[in-house]
């Protein structure tokens, strides 16, 4: 494309427009472009011979390869299913704890469990079980209901619903502050005598235990480990939980803590896979 090559010597169409400002020259298309056009047309011809493409009166040409998209899809799917079949067959027969014990199956399940977890669990529990405000972290080894594989499987199958009565009505403001300070102090190793008294009197230990370490069969929280079910673990947040309780129908501002049952949403195999995956997230107890 050297400068101004032939710009005014090629003849034009003999017409002009816009008061003579516009003319069209009679240049031929560039050779490389014509070559490209003929190659494209040749490619179309070959494509039409190979693939289903030309409509006829009641049918269409099938192409000499006999290819269709659905055939290709089914073949690919079959290949994947054949690869997975031996594992899936074993998982179906085994219990979650047996799958966990088998190292080959367990690493297979960890991979498919990750996909399932991402689709069905991560919306609440966060990617990789990292937790979200109001939803428990699954990637640590602190469990409300127990972290053994069978309990995790039961939690997924049947769901869980926490419960703690609201104490806002029965405690004075002073008592509420005291017991809050006591609970905060538990994790920090400081003692608050007045709060400890309220803890005893109001029957907090009835659920959280004498040592305040929680009772797994009730799902009551361990108050001494500094891991808080309702984040952030500030005095304000702890006080809110004590005042309004958890899932207490009588208090409209109560905390919500419901894990739905997945028994009718997932197959048994899928629940087993998830149980193994979640168990491994926390490192196992």
């Amino acid at each position: 494309m050297s400068d101004n090559k032939n710009a005014n010597q090629t003849p034009d169409t003999g017409h002009s427009w816009d008061d003579g400002a516009l003319r069209e020259l009679l240049n031929e298309p560039p050779g490389w472009w014509k070559l490209g056009m003929w190659v494209s047309l040749a490619w179309v011809l070959v494509y039409f011979i190979l693939y289903p493409s030309i409509p006829l009166a009641t049918d269409f040409t099938k192409g000499v390869m006999g290819w269709t998209a659905i055939k290709e899809y089914k073949a690919d799917l079959k290949e994947v299913e054949e690869l997975r079949a031996p594992y899936e067959a074993k998982i179906k027969k085994m219990s979650a704890s047996a799958i966990l014990a088998d190292s080959e199956l367990s690493s297979y399940v960890e991979k498919s469990g990750k996909v399932l977890f991402g689709d069905r669990c991560a919306a609440c529990h966060g990617s990789g079980g990292a937790g979200n405000p109001g939803f428990p972290v699954l990637a640590d080894d602190d469990w409300l209901y127990g972290g053994d594989i069978n309990t995790i499987e039961a939690s997924i199958t049947d769901g869980r619903e926490g419960g703690m009565p609201a104490f806002g009505g029965s405690l004075s403001a002073q008592q509420l502050d005291d017991v809050t300070q006591f609970v905060i102090g538990l994790a920090q190793g400081t003692k608050h005598a007045a709060g400890a008294a309220v803890f005893e009197e109001q029957g907090c230990s009835g659920c959280h235990g004498e040592d305040a370490k929680g009772v797994t069969f009730m799902g009551s929280a361990n108050l001494t480990d500094g891991i808080y079910r309702f984040t952030p673990g500030t005095a304000e947040s702890v006080k809110y939980t004590i005042a309004h309780g958890v899932n207490d129908g009588s208090d409209p501002e109560t905390r919500n803590a419901v894990m739905p049952s997945f028994a009718d949403k997932l197959t048994e195999t899928e629940i087993k896979k998830l149980a193994v995956y979640v168990y491994k997230l926390g490192g196992g107890q």
């Binding site: 034009d12 069209e24 040409t61 998209a69 991402g118």
Partner: protein
């Protein structure tokens, strides 16, 4: 404008309709890109404006899309037709009055349609979202009057032969009317299921392939020879471009539905057409690049050429993407991802917007005989558009590849959301730059109309660009 609605045709100054269309299109562009920026903010920051149904993404998205397509792009086309078609025929517009009414009814109808969409009254089909009343209105009061005006002006020309630009204009207004009537057939015949899906994309693709792309190309066929003073390089290539689009590019709709259970031959047919678009596209690009011979300094110095050639060059990646992303081999990966969103913006915000921008810049100066108020602001507009668009396109292309990988490799959806978040923020930044540039443009063109230096008879606006 209102005073001309009932004036005699002879009393309306020549070019009035084009000027009204020009300013309407700029205003719609500001509105459309403002909405785009707002929607992008909603995707980047999920807590931005929540709790109101009207401002939810599902209500706002279509308003953005249709405001830019039928407000900005189509009205800029109408503007270009109203002054280029008569100029090419050494004549005046067949009816200025029809043009003024056309512009008036266009603004009314579009505002009404977009308000309905905003309120959630929609046909539910992407791109043909307007309810049937508005579709009929558009066919009868927007597309048809425009077509009549363009055809009559071409028929009344005082030149021999028809210049390339007018072939496209004449065919484009015809095709868009047909696309509106036939493309909305699910409404007239209550089609459902696959037939509805197919007709939805028949409409959507043909609005792009038979209206937006050819008309934008036609504008370049005018602005480049006009501003550079060079004759168009090849009449023959123009022919090849025109006929290959008109004859072969009418049924690629099925390539939007490559995974749907449509007849296999239809998908092959559509896919082949999609690849073949490269033939006319490269013809168009080469014709204009060759026309530029000896005038490449104007790409830097002249604002209209800067816009036009940028648009023309964008046709290359646009058609490379468009040609190949719809083949079965690639479509399974990018279908339904941000890649497609990036591609759609390359077509509308990249390729066609730059060509229309040139037409509006040049048209306003030519008709009003006033020099551009500020060349600096025009350059500012150009760079904000180009940089904003580039950020948008690159970030959405990357986001699309991430989403595609996530889809194929069964990556949990939430992980994909986390991975694409930075690109969503980048897209918002890009969109906001475009919006800012357009505000500057509106100001610049308003000031041009009010206080721009008068252009003496016998001179052209671009010749005076650097005169004080």
């Amino acid at each position: 404008m209102l005073k001309y609605l009932f004036a005699k045709n002879e009393d309306i100054p020549q070019g009035s309709a084009a000027i009204f269309f020009a300013f309407s299109s700029i205003v719609w562009f500001v509105v459309g890109t403002g909405l785009g920026s707002f929607n992008a903010a909603k995707l980047a920051f999920p807590d931005f404006v929540t709790g109101s149904e009207l401002f939810s993404f599902g209500h706002m998205r279509q308003v953005h899309v249709l405001a830019v397509i039928f407000g900005w792009i189509s009205m800029a086309f109408a503007m270009a037709m109203m002054y280029i078609t008569p100029a090419l025929g050494n004549t005046k517009l067949w009816s200025e009055k029809l043009g003024i009414w056309n512009c008036f009814l266009w603004n009314i109808g579009l505002s009404l349609g977009l308000t309905l969409l905003w309120a959630g009254i929609t046909s539910g089909r992407e791109y043909s979202d307007f309810p049937w009343v508005i579709d009929l209105y558009i066919a009868a009061f927007i597309a048809l009057p425009l077509a009549i005006n363009v055809w009559m002006t071409i028929l009344k020309r005082r030149t021999q032969g028809i210049y390339t630009t007018n072939w496209f204009f004449g065919a484009g207004v015809f095709m868009v009317t047909i696309v509106f009537i036939v493309g909305n057939s699910p409404e007239w015949f209550n089609l459902t299921g696959l037939s509805e899906a197919y007709m939805t994309w028949w409409f959507a693709h043909n609005v792009l392939g038979l209206w937006i792309t050819p008309i934008a190309a036609a504008i370049a066929y005018y602005t480049v020879p006009k501003v550079t003073g060079n004759p168009l390089y090849s009449h023959r290539i123009g022919h090849l471009h025109f006929w290959s689009v008109v004859v072969f590019y009418s049924t690629p709709a099925a390539h939007h539905l490559m995974s749907a259970p449509l007849p296999e031959w239809l998908k092959s047919f559509a896919s082949v057409e999609g690849v073949l678009i490269l033939v006319p596209a490269i013809a168009f690009v080469s014709n204009l690049i060759l026309t530029m011979q000896g005038k490449w300094h104007m790409f830097v110095e002249n604002v209209e050429i800067k816009f036009t050639i940028t648009g023309v060059l964008m046709a290359i990646p646009l058609n490379m993407q468009g040609g190949f992303q719809q083949t079965r081999a690639i479509n399974w990966y990018v279908h339904g991802t941000g890649w497609i969103v990036a591609h759609a913006h390359l077509a509308l915000l990249g390729f066609s917007t730059f060509l229309e921008g040139a037409a509006v810049y040049y048209g306003i100066q030519t008709i009003l005989r006033r020099k551009l108020y500020s060349l600096a602001l025009a350059n500012f507009h150009f760079w904000f558009l180009l940089i904003g668009f580039s950020i948008y396109w690159i970030s959405m292309t990357i986001a699309g590849l991430i989403q595609g990988a996530g889809k194929i490799y069964e990556v949990p959806y939430i992980d994909v959301v986390i991975a694409e978040h930075p690109y969503m923020i980048a897209r918002w930044v890009g969109g906001t730059l475009v919006f800012t540039g357009n505000l500057v443009w509106l100001y610049n063109m308003y000031m041009t109309a009010r206080v721009g230096t008068e252009i003496p008879v016998g001179r052209l606006p671009h010749e005076m660009a650097y005169e004080r």
